[in-house]
Symmetry: C2
Subunit: 343 residues, 2 copies
Amino acid sequence: MTVTIKDVARLAGVSPSTVSRVISNHPRISKATAVKVREIMEQIGYHPNVMAKSLVSKTTSTLAIFLPRPAEELFLNLFFSEFIRGMVARASKSGYDMMITSSTSEHDEVAAITRLVRSKRVDGVILMSSRRNDPVVHYLEEQQFPFILIGRNEEYPDIMSVDNDNVQASYDATKHLIDRGHTRIGFVSGPPHLIMSKDRMKGYEKALREANLPLNPQWIVEGEFLQESGYRAMSLIMSLLDRPTALVVIDDVVAFGIVRGLNEIGYSVPQNMSLISFNNTALTELSSPPISSVDISIYQLGYLASQNLIQAVKGESKERYRMIVPHRLVVRDSSSNTIPTGS
Amino acid sequence: MTVTIKDVARLAGVSPSTVSRVISNHPRISKATAVKVREIMEQIGYHPNVMAKSLVSKTTSTLAIFLPRPAEELFLNLFFSEFIRGMVARASKSGYDMMITSSTSEHDEVAAITRLVRSKRVDGVILMSSRRNDPVVHYLEEQQFPFILIGRNEEYPDIMSVDNDNVQASYDATKHLIDRGHTRIGFVSGPPHLIMSKDRMKGYEKALREANLPLNPQWIVEGEFLQESGYRAMSLIMSLLDRPTALVVIDDVVAFGIVRGLNEIGYSVPQNMSLISFNNTALTELSSPPISSVDISIYQLGYLASQNLIQAVKGESKERYRMIVPHRLVVRDSSSNTIPTGS
DNA sequence: CCATTGTGTTAAAACGTTTGCATAATCCAT
DNA sequence: ATGGATTATGCAAACGTTTTAACACAATGG
C-alpha cells in the first residue's frame, strides 16, 4: 500500500491538514509539531503524491520542451544536447521536471501543443523553433499560456524569449574576416524561414556594406543544418568562376561539411578558403583544421530559458520578455590567415 | 474556467460516468450517445485533466529517462540525442510522454530516483548507465518498479534490458582488422567500471586469442568517452617502441581524437595506423579519413527501450527480459588498407 | 476583567477523474 | 404476457492532496 498524508497524520497524532502545512512550511505551525511530523515522514518514507497535489494546486512543477517536426534535424546536432543539458540543470535546481515532447507530423503540431496545454500536464513550454508565423506561437499566445521562445519573434511584441543578438554576431564574424584582409566573402545560410537565418544574413550584409565590399548574390547559398548542405554549398561556390575567399557559415555542422568537401577536392582551409561559423559546438575542435566559430553559449541559453520560464510560471516577476545572451568569437585555424592566397 | 467532464455531461444530457466511458471506449455504450458525446467534446474543446485521471487510475502515461551524474559526458556525444530520438518517437506513438531527469550529484542518485518513484510521477524508468553494483538498479529492483536497463547487468538475472552483444561486436571489429592482415592490434577502452567496456574488451581478447596473436598489455589503454581521452591514448601508444598497427576503439569520439592526434604529429590513417570504433555516429563520416565503426543501432535501442517498457508497465506481456539489438560493421577508410605499412 | 489580537489546529470541501454497484430499459424466448 | 438475459446509464465513493473557514486557546492591552 502506498503511504499517504493520512498515515503520517495518524502516526503523528495530528490532522492531515497540519501535515500538509508542515510540508509547505506554513508559518503558523509550532516548532514541536513540525519536528514531530518530519520525523514520522522520514521514518515511514513518505513522499507526497504529485498527481493529487497537482490536481488541487493546478500546478505541476513540470516544464516541457516542444519540438515541432521540422526541428528533427536538431537531433543530429550537438546543439541540441547541450541546450537540453542547460535546460535540465536549471529546472531540476528549482525542483522542476522536464518533459520532452514532439509532434509527429507538421500537421498535428497544433493538436499536440493543444493537448499538452489543455490536459494541464505542464506549467510552461519552451519552444525551440522560431519561424515566421508559427502556429504554435499563435496558439500559446492566444491561450495566454506561459512559454518562452528560443530565438525571437517579430509578430508579437511581448513574447518572452531568450536569444542571441544574431545580427551583431554575424556582423562580428564577417568583420573578423574583413579585418583579416578578405574582400570577397560569401554566406552559407540555413533554412530561409528561420528568423535566425535572416538575422545572420542581415549582420553579414551590414558588415559588407559598411566596408564597401561587393555583395555578390552568387556567394549566398541556403541550406539545412546538415553536413550535406555544406557539401552542396561548397560545390556550388567552387564551381563559380568568380569565387569568394572566405565564408560565413550558419552552423558548425555545415561548416564541417564544407571543410571536408574542400579537402576532398584538393583545396585546403584556410589557405584556399577561410571559414567562420556559428554555435561553437565540439565539432569545431574536431575538425581539421579547427573551425573558427561564434560561441553563442548554448548551455546558457537552455539554462536561462528554464530560469525565466520558471520565474514566469511562478508569477514571481513581471520582468519577463526578451533576454539576450552575449556571444563571443572563438578564432581557430580556419580563419587564422591574414592574407588569402586562394581564388 | 477550465472545461471539465461535467460540462460535457451536462451539454450532452448524460452523466459524467457515461462521458468517461465514451472516452475509454467502454463496450457497453450505445452508438448514439457515443456520437453525441464526442460531438460535444469536439465542440467545446474538452481535454481530460491528466492529473485527475492519474490520481484515480494510478497511472501516468509518462516514462522517465534517468541519467546518473557520471553520465553527464553523454551530452557531448551524438549517441545521446540519437537515443532520445528513438525513445521519444516510440513513446509518443503510444501516447506516452517522456521525462528527462538527472541527479545533480553522485550522492543524491538514490534520493532522486526515490522521489521519482514514490511521488508516482512516472510509470516506468529507462536507465542509461550500467555500472557494476549500481545503487539505482538495486533500488528499482527492490521496489519492483518497472524499469529497463540500457546495457546488461550481471547481478540480477531477471532485469529487463535492451543491449547489443558487445562481446560479439568487439570480436567482429577485431576480426575485421585481423582479416586485413593486422597482427599487432591495440584496444582503447572506456571507463573500466562500465560493463560495456569490459564486454568489448572481452571480444577483443577473444579474437586475438583465437588467431594466436599477441595480447600486449601496453596496447590496452583506458579512458573516458571524450576526444581528449583519444588524444592521450594516442600519445601513450605512439610513445612505445613496440607499437600496434591497428586499434579497436571504444567510441567514435575517442577514435576521432586519435585520428586527429595522429594527423597532428604527422602520421596518417590508415597508412600508419588502422582504426575501427563503435557506435557509428555522424562523427565517423565527418572524420578525415572517415572512421570504420560498428553500428549498434542507437535509434533502435531507444525505440525498443520505450517499446518494451511500455509493454511492461501496461502489463501486456510477461516476456520481458533481455533483448539484443544486432550490430553491423561499417567499413570506411580508416581500416580500408589490407597490408599495414606502419610499424 | 473584557475585548482584542495572535497562534496552532482541525473539519470539510474541493480538485476532475474512474469504477463498482445498482437500476432502468430493451430484448428475446417461452 | 412473463421472466430472465442483456445492454445502457447513473449514483456515489474513491484517489491523495490543499485550502477556506472556523474554532480553541493564550497572550496582550486598556
